[in-house]
């Protein structure tokens, strides 16, 4: 088939692009390093020099791996949620999961002022406290969503409840912010801006593992996801246990978003925008094409945004959330303008 050849060609191009962007992420930064030094440091060769070894392996490598993995995890979740909810504006944030993570972080960070507790003072734990609180908060909302979807069985109801939970959680966070000290508020706001640079190499590899596992799980569901394009009744009529499949996939995306958000903070728009870019570019709605496309484009876009955020040549860097929003929002506007009735993808 002609289409298959074309798709494979572009898969290869996007694979090479993400590889290129990955190395660009290792190369560029506030400290200028020659690309030979970068390679030497990456492979721990003796001629690398101590500074390059530390900069590449302890800072830039985990950051690049985190950006790549988070890009995959969020984009894949967006794709699955858009198909499950038959809604082009579904994304990782709509289930309320990232709000749940925010609540977890807000509770822990601001506990000092509000409850007189000093949870965030456990400095020896580093950012582990924040990661764990984000993860627990996300899982809490996820458990609620799973419970609700098990009872009502209507995906649109689940979607609405997810959005409402998001609002309720934001309200609680606002109340916490109102009573909190400025130091703690600062910590929370920094987390909320999102960052790919707060992970250790072990954490970034864990994220990578999550991304790979998520990709394989999504590929396992290619056929039912394609069947769901015609709605649950038609999918059921050709033999799929749609309710079970929907519940399981909501659980999987929930875990993916929870893990991603825990390590990086809420990253806006990537999960929403990348599936649309993949559909628009590959002109297909078949998940056998869209899943690899979303993975490759999600990784590339996240690495690209991280590169932009680093502002090569300057000493400062932009918050990653601003960059992803600046890139993602136009994509969403483009989607809305392309189909004004918003009934289609």
């Amino acid at each position: 088939m002609q289409n298959n050849t074309r798709h494979r060609f572009w898969f290869l191009i996007f694979f090479l692009l993400s590889l290129l962007l990955f190395f660009a992420n290792l190369w560029f930064g506030s400290v200028l390093l020659g690309w030979k030094h970068v390679l030497s440091a990456l492979f721990h060769r003796p001629d690398a020099g101590n500074a390059a070894l530390v900069i590449v392996n302890q800072y830039r490598l985990p950051q690049a791996v985190t950006a790549l993995s988070t890009g995959i995890v969020l984009s894949l979740s967006g794709l699955i949620l858009q198909t499950l909810f038959r809604n082009p504006l579904a994304g990782p944030s709509v289930l309320g999961i990232s709000s749940g993570a925010s609540l977890g972080v807000a509770l822990v960070v601001m506990s000092g002022s509000v409850f007189g507790l000093q949870l965030a003072q456990f400095q020896f734990l580093g950012n582990i406290t924040i990661v764990m609180s984000a993860f627990l908060g996300a899982l809490l909302v996820l458990a609620l969503i799973i419970y609700v979807s098990g009872r009502v069985g209507n995906v649109i109801t689940v979607l609405i409840i997810g959005i409402m939970v998001g609002y309720a959680v934001s309200a609680v966070v606002s109340v916490l912010q109102y009573f909190t000290s400025s130091d703690e508020l600062h910590t929370y706001i920094l987390w909320g801006l999102g960052s790919f640079s707060k992970t250790t190499i072990q954490q970034s590899l864990f994220l990578l593992f999550t991304a790979i596992a998520g990709t394989f799980i999504a590929l396992y569901f290619v056929k039912p996801l394609n069947a769901l394009l015609a709605g649950t009744h038609y999918a059921q009529s050709i033999g799929f246990r749609t309710k079970r499949i929907q519940t399981f996939l909501i659980l999987v995306t929930g875990v993916l978003v929870a893990v991603g958000t825990a390590f990086t903070g809420p990253i806006a728009f990537l999960g929403l925008a990348v599936p649309h870019l993949a559909r628009g570019f590959f002109k297909s709605s078949q998940h056998g094409v869209l899943i690899p496309a979303t993975v490759l484009m999600g990784a590339s876009l996240a690495l690209f945004c991280n590169l932009v955020a680093k502002l090569p040549g300057y000493d400062i860097s932009l918050p990653i959330n601003s960059v992803t929003s600046l890139v993602g929002a136009p994509v969403i506007i483009w989607v809305v303008l392309r189909n004004r009735h918003l009934k289609t993808f």
């Binding site: 038959r86 290619v222 056929k223 394609n226 069947a227 394009l229 015609a230 709605g231 009744h233 038609y234 059921q236 009529s237 050709i238 033999g239 799929f240 246990r241 559909r279 002109k283 297909s284 709605s285 078949q286 056998g288 189909n339 009934k343 289609t344 993808f345």
Partner: protein, 336 residues
């Protein structure tokens, strides 16, 4: 050998929302659908036609009673096993910017396709011959949502046919389809019932279509019990009227369609039948409230209208009074 047969035994049709009291629409439905039969399910809006179809398709649990396919109870069948017994055409709408008509039709082969959904040579052959038969091969690479309602319906029919099941259920397959399209779809359905021994059950609001094509009618209504019978028998026995109970609109057993019995203006018009033109004139005059009756030899002095040499003409006895080029002229100028 258990015959391929849908058996409905003492079924209560209705639905239940959450923990609320179940809404029972009909009780004690006993019926069967055999291969080769085309059955139309008729009833007024809200009677529970779609609910019954959904229950029989396994989308919702029956309130009580039993449904069995080829001797196997529905509740003991896996969705996979059911997908080899029954294919459906629903009123559910879906749209997707890139989903092609071929991809929609090929979903009907999913119960047979590989794990990744790849189609075998046999699958492709079945899809292509079905598209060819329905005359929609040229549309297969179009985006499904860009097709017209009639074309979409044909693709959904193709999707159900390639599923290669003994039973086929269709919810309102001819609604939103233009009149020639309706006839085409109904001709295919009766062809597949007859020649491919499919048991077909469809709901419709188009009673004329149902009377023309159905082997049996199933009538449902919220107040009355389920009724089944030959369409012609149900018509002359007056059952259609009983199941579509309206004060003004009645089913005319002579004409075979619904109409309003209007009070007449009392003015009588005599009409001498001369083929289609006078038949339509009669319709127009009746609509305007005239009492139209046929001319007889016993009233040679009366006015009457007929059609000759390409125009309507009015006579009194043998004397030609007026010519009218069309029905509109007759209605505008009035009849003396």
């Amino acid at each position: 050998m258990a015959s391929a047969k849908l058996h409905i035994d003492n079924l209560s049709n209705g639905y239940q929302t959450g923990k609320q009291k179940p809404v029972v629409l009909q009780e004690a439905i006993n019926a069967s659908l055999e291969p080769g039969q085309l059955i139309c399910l008729l009833g007024p809006n809200g009677a529970g036609k779609s609910t019954l179809l959904r229950t029989l398709s396994g989308f919702q649990k029956p309130l009580s009673g039993n449904i069995s396919y080829s001797g196997k109870p529905l509740e003991s069948m896996s969705l996979r096993a059911l997908s080899r017994q029954l294919a459906v055409v629903l009123t559910d709408r879906f749209s997707d910017r890139f989903l092609t008509a071929f991809e929609v039709v090929s979903m009907g082969r999913f119960p047979y396709a590989s794990f990744w959904g790849q189609l075998s040579g046999k699958d492709n052959k079945i899809i292509h011959s079905t598209l060819e038969m329905l005359g929609v091969t040229s549309l297969k690479d179009e985006i499904f949502e860009n097709l017209s309602d009639g074309e979409k319906q044909k693709m959904l029919l193709a999707r159900a046919l390639v599923q290669d099941t003994p039973f086929l259920f269709l919810d309102e397959p001819v609604a939103f389809v233009d009149s020639p399209g309706k006839i085409e779809i109904m001709e295919w359905l009766s062809f597949f019932a007859r020649e491919h021994s499919k048991g077909i059950l469809m709901t419709t609001h188009d009673i004329e279509i149902a009377l023309d094509y159905a082997d049996y009618l199933w009538l449902i209504n919220r107040e009355k019990s389920f009724k089944t019978g030959l369409p012609e028998d149900l018509v002359w026995k007056g059952a259609i009227n009983v199941y579509f109970d309206r004060l003004e609109v009645r089913f005319d057993a002579a004409k075979g369609r619904f109409g309003v019995s209007k009070p007449t203006l009392g003015k009588k018009v005599l009409l001498k039948q001369a083929g289609a033109p006078t038949r339509w004139l009669k319709k127009a005059l009746t609509r305007k409230g005239f009492q139209v009756s046929g001319v007889t030899d016993k009233q040679p002095e009366d006015f009457y209208i007929t059609f000759e040499n390409g125009a309507f003409v009015q006579y009194r006895g043998d004397e030609l009074l007026k010519r009218f080029k069309d029905i509109e002229e007759i209605l505008n100028q009035g009849i003396s």
